[in-house]
Every structure is written in structure tokens, then in C-alpha cells.
């Protein structure tokens, strides 16, 4: 089976600092792929490389077999890569509904000029968009907040909204950057169920950066471990669990972080 997302020998240097060095990984369609590593290992940089915020210094990034390295971020998103951010990035002044709509807008194909004159097609598309996005919010349990400003939501709901917004893009792959950050262990268990449901319901492949070992081990089919920008291990949770290099670099030091 060919990989959905493939990172081939990617290196990213910021001046003299090598954030990612010769990193490779392959994400299989339909899987949940975990990326773990100590702080500063380059996990988020890797996401930023995949989504086009950074250009790789060297190497290839393939999505559905085509190179996306160096493409514009919004083009990459439209090809089917949705993401969330470590520090939540919502449009704070927009309503919850409009946050989701602004992602779903990429599915609306009326021309900007027709928008100026509010031609019938625009009205029809917008109405359909509102209905679809409300439906989506409902399935995420956010419907009652539809007209609240995004910044008024509780932290956990903001995280959920960010995922809903990424889903509105209808992605094939969803990159989640520390979705459990700031959640307590009870909430983390709920988040795991929630992510399973998202994956099942919207048929997305998930790539997950996370520090919560229980969550990563419980959710992921495959795990890649980064340290100092390099891949030090790649395998099933069981393999990672018993990998001596990983234990040395990461788990050994702070496996008791809960």
C-alpha cells in the first residue's frame, strides 16, 4: 500500500540551527500516526514544513504521490491537509459558525464578482453552507455556541472548534498539534474517544503530535520518534515502548510526566 503522506530525507535549517535533519516518515492511509519527541525535537517544525509555512532546505514531501514541498500553504490545505495548532489559532472575533464557514468556503465556487451583486447562486450557496456548517457544529456538540464569538468559548471547546474547522475543509489527513495540551486526564480520555469518532466519522487519516504517552500509545497504529530533528525510531507502539534508544532519549527521562 502506498503511503498517503511521505516525508523523504527532509532537512530544515534556520541559519546555523538545524531544526530537522534528514527526517523521513510515511503515513499510511487510514492510520493514526503519532509523532513524539522531547521538547524542541522539531515536531511542530515538521508540521509547518508539511503545511507549507516553511520550505524544506532539502528533501521531498509527497502527498498522494505528488510533491508539495514549497507549495503555498493555502494550496496545500486545499489538496486535503487540515491542521490544528499547538497554541490555538482561531479567528477570535468571528463567531463559532463563521470560523467553520470560512474553512468550508473553500468548497463554494461562486465567483467574487457575483458575490458583490449577491446573485441567486451566491445566496443559494451561502444558505447551503450555513446549513452544512451548523450540521457539522451539531455533530461536534458546538451548535449551541454557533453565534458566540470564538474567543468566548471555553478552552476545551476552542480545541474542538479548531478540529471542526479543519474538518470543514474536508481533508484526507488531519494534523493535530498537541490536542491534549492543557487538558486533565479525564478530559484526555474523552479526547481519545472523540478523536476515534472523528477518524471513523469523517474518514480521515490522523497525524498526532502529543506528549501524553497514554494517549499516543492508545490511539496510534504507528509512532515516529524525533530527537534533535532526526528520526530515532519508527514502529508500532509496542516496538517503541521497548526501544532502548527511545527510552534513553525520551521516555527514560520523563515518562513519569503525568
Amino acid at each position: 500500500m502506498s503511503a498517503l503522506l511521505e516525508i523523504k530525507a527532509v532537512t530544515k535549517r534556520f541559519g546555523g540551527l538545524c531544526a530537522i535533519s534528514d527526517c523521513s516518515l510515511a503515513v499510511q492511509p487510514g492510520s493514526t500516526h503519532g509523532i513524539i519527541g522531547p521538547n524542541g525535537a522539531g515536531k511542530t517544525t515538521l508540521f509547518n514544513l508539511i503545511t507549507g509555512i516553511y520550505k524544506p532546505t532539502e528533501g521531498e514531501i509527497l502527498f498522494k504521490g505528488a510533491s508539495i514541498a514549497g507549495d503555498r500553504p493555502n494550496h496545500i490545505a486545499l489538496k486535503g491537509i487540515g491542521r490544528t495548532f499547538q497554541n490555538i489559532r482561531l479567528c477570535k472575533e468571528l463567531t463559532v459558525l463563521d470560523n467553520v464557514r470560512s474553512a468550508y468556503d473553500t468548497q463554494l465556487h461562486y465567483s467574487p464578482l457575483s458575490a458583490l451583486f449577491q446573485l441567486p447562486r451566491v445566496v443559494r450557496d451561502e444558505k447551503q453552507s450555513i446549513a452544512t456548517c451548523l450540521e457539522l457544529l451539531k455533530s461536534f456538540g458546538l451548535e449551541e455556541f454557533a453565534n458566540h464569538r470564538a474567543s468566548d468559548l471555553a478552552y476545551g471547546f476552542q480545541r474542538r472548534l479548531e478540529i471542526a474547522r479543519a474538518i470543514a475543509l474536508k481533508p484526507d489527513i488531519l494534523l493535530l498539534d498537541e490536542p491534549a495540551a492543557g487538558l486533565n486526564s479525564g478530559e484526555t480520555v474523552k479526547l481519545m474517544e472523540f478523536l476515534r469518532w472523528v477518524k471513523e466519522n469523517f474518514k480521515v487519516t490522523i497525524v498526532l503530535i502529543e506528549h501524553h504517552m497514554k494517549m499516543v500509545m492508545g490511539l496510534c497504529d504507528r509512532i515516529t520518534v524525533l530527537d534533535f530533528g532526526a528520526t530515532i525510531a519508527d514502529g508500532t507502539p509496542a516496538e517503541i515502548h521497548s526501544n532502548q534508544r527511545v527510552i534513553d532519549a525520551y521516555l527514560g527521562g520523563d515518562s513519569d510526566d503525568e
Binding site: A77, F85, R89, C91, L94, S102, L116, E126, L169
Partner: protein, 335 residues
């Protein structure tokens, strides 16, 4: 909902009213002049709000687009078709003014879309200087002396018509995918990109639309004042428009109307305001013409506004009757 059809009816009544005022000269010349000025300022304010309010950029070049529109329209009515004096020509001239401004705005947006904040402000400032100096160097349009002999074509009904068109079109834009895109860019450009928002296209389109209405306002202005010269469209004019936008409220069409009305009335009021002559005890004072002090008073108001209400009177809020009905329906369902 009753207010759904109330607004169009109100617009039609307003239009008929302006026609009647014009025809039977119900108001004196000065009042009509102030009303037309308010209308033009609403167009300027709403269109600049698109860039400075909704998109969250800082353009100081709006007077440049106004100038381009004013000159383009005046060349049509004065130089090319001097003997044609029909409403159709005026309509076309105003549109042409808008299109010229929109085209230049489009080019400027392509040049500058990568820059944000301070840098865009500097580029638009440079653009403003280029427009002004170019006009001063073109003898065909009178150089620094300006263009004379423009007919008085900007009547109250025309102004009303263009104000309604401007507000309607900008409203439609804001509540479309382009509008949400530019607001998303303002809120968080990285997130907007990650959502697949076509940031470049949205920015350029919104900027060109804003320039278009800047040009429309310029064309109306030229045919109201009947005389234009390059220094009518300098940084002071831009500043005036900026004051209106930030007074009324960024990211709000209602605020744009409010800002333009309050600013224009205050400006005209201060112009005529005289204090004194009078006596306080043994001290005789005045008469003071406050008109010459208005450019001290207005910026002072702006300073106070920035300190106490940095987003303006209506900042980021909107009157419900401005929203398209589809937006209201979801809102009502929730309440």
C-alpha cells in the same frame, strides 16, 4: 420579518425624497452641499473600512484613489465629451472613475500583497505621493493649477444612489466568502492559510473593490466642487478619511455611516463656530473664528477616541438590519 422589507422601502422613499428636494429646492444650497458631502464621505469611509477595518491593514492612500477617480471622470465630462450633458454620461463617467481607480488599486495590491501593517502603510503613502506628483506634471489636466470647468452634476439623488450602491455592494462582499476570508486574514493569517483561504486573491479583490469606490467618491466630489487640483488629494484628505473610519468604528458599515455623518457635521459646525466677542469681568475676548482651529480640534477628538474607544463608536459591531437575511435566520434560531 418586518424589517426585511422595511429597508428597501426606506431606501426608495429616501430616494424619492432626495429627488423632491432637488426638484423643488426645499433646502438651501448650503444644506444640500453638506448633505452631498456627507454622502461622498460615507462612500469614502465605507470603502476604506474594507481595507483598514475588515482586512485589518493600514492604507493611507485612499485619497489617491479618490484623485484618480476624480480626474478620470472629469477628463471624460470636460475634455472628451464637453458638450454632452446627460445623466447617462455622468453615470458612465463615475463608473469610469471607479474603474480607473480599481485598476490602479489592483496593480498596487499585486505589488504590495506580501507586505502588511507598517510596510503597506508606507507603500500606500508612496502611491499617494506618486499620484499627486504625476497629476501635477500632466499639463493636459492643468498641472498643479488643476482642472477647471467641471459641470455641477453631483446632485443629491445621484449621491444618494451611489451611497446605497456602495453600502449594498460592500455589505454583500463582507457577508460572502471573500468577506470572511479577509476577516480571517485580519484575525490570523497563518490560520487562514491553513484553512485553505485564498489569501492573496481575497486581499487583492477586496483592495480593488475598496479602490473602486474610492474612485466613485472622487468622481462625485469633482462634480460637486466643480474644480479639482492635485493638492485636493493629498495626505490631509487621506487623514480625514482615516479619522472618519476610526471615529465611526473599524469593521462596521453602520460605523462608517456614523463616522462620516458625525465627522462632516462636526467639521462644518466648527467651521462656522465663532466664540465671542464677549466680556468676562474686565476681560474682553473674541471674536474667535474656530474654523481655523478645526484641524486642531478634530485630531484632538481622534486622540481621545483612541484612548477611550480604540475601535471607534461601532467597532466590529453592526446594525442587525444591515445583515443579509440568511445571517439573521441562524441568529434568530439561536436566541
Amino acid at each position: 420579518m418586518t424589517c426585511r422589507w422595511a429597508l428597501p422601502v426606506l431606501v426608495v422613499i429616501g430616494f424619492i425624497f432626495t429627488v423632491i428636494i432637488e426638484k423643488y429646492q426645499l433646502f438651501n444650497g448650503y444644506t444640500v452641499f453638506v448633505l452631498v458631502t456627507i454622502g461622498i464621505n460615507i462612500i469614502l469611509c465605507a470603502s476604506l473600512n474594507l481595507v483598514n477595518g475588515y482586512m485589518g491593514e493600514f492604507s493611507v492612500g485612499h485619497a489617491g484613489f479618490m484623485g484618480l477617480g476624480a480626474y478620470a471622470a472629469s477628463i471624460l465630462t470636460v475634455k472628451i465629451f464637453p458638450n454632452v450633458d446627460t445623466p447617462v454620461l455622468f453615470f458612465c463617467a463615475v463608473i469610469a472613475g471607479g474603474l480607473v481607480a480599481a485598476f490602479i488599486g489592483f496593480l498596487l495590491a499585486i505589488l504590495s500583497f506580501k507586505t502588511r501593517g507598517d510596510y503597506l502603510a508606507i507603500i500606500t503613502l508612496a502611491f499617494l505621493m506618486i499620484v499627486k506628483s504625476s497629476l501635477e506634471n500632466i499639463h493636459y489636466v492643468g498641472g498643479p493649477r488643476g482642472l477647471l470647468g467641471i459641470h455641477h452634476l453631483t446632485t443629491l439623488p445621484w449621491t444618494f444612489f451611489w451611497v446605497v450602491v456602495t453600502l449594498w455592494v460592500i455589505r454583500n462582499l463582507i457577508y460572502s466568502k471573500i468577506g470572511r476570508a479577509i476577516i480571517a486574514i485580519r484575525e490570523d493569517e497563518i490560520a487562514a492559510n491553513a484553512m485553505g483561504v485564498r489569501t492573496r486573491e481575497a486581499k487583492i479583490f477586496a483592495f480593488a473593490t475598496s479602490s473602486f469606490f474610492g474612485g466613485i467618491a472622487g468622481a462625485l466630489y469633482a462634480h460637486q466642487i466643480q474644480f479639482i487640483n492635485p493638492s485636493s488629494f493629498d495626505i490631509l484628505k487621506s487623514t480625514e478619511i482615516l479619522v472618519m473610519v476610526y471615529l465611526g468604528g473599524v469593521g462596521s458599515l453602520g460605523g462608517s455611516i456614523l463616522g462620516a455623518v458625525v465627522f462632516t457635521l462636526l467639521y462644518r459646525f466648527l467651521e462656522q463656530l465663532t466664540i465671542g466677542p464677549g466680556q468676562l469681568g474686565s476681560w474682553h475676548f473674541g471674536p474667535w473664528q474656530l474654523g481655523t482651529w478645526r484641524m486642531v480640534i478634530m485630531p484632538l477628538i481622534l486622540v481621545l477616541l483612541m484612548l477611550f474607544r480604540p475601535r471607534g463608536i461601532m467597532g466590529l459591531r453592526e446594525f442587525a438590519w444591515f445583515l443579509p437575511s440568511r445571517e439573521l435566520l441562524t441568529r434568530r434560531k439561536k436566541e
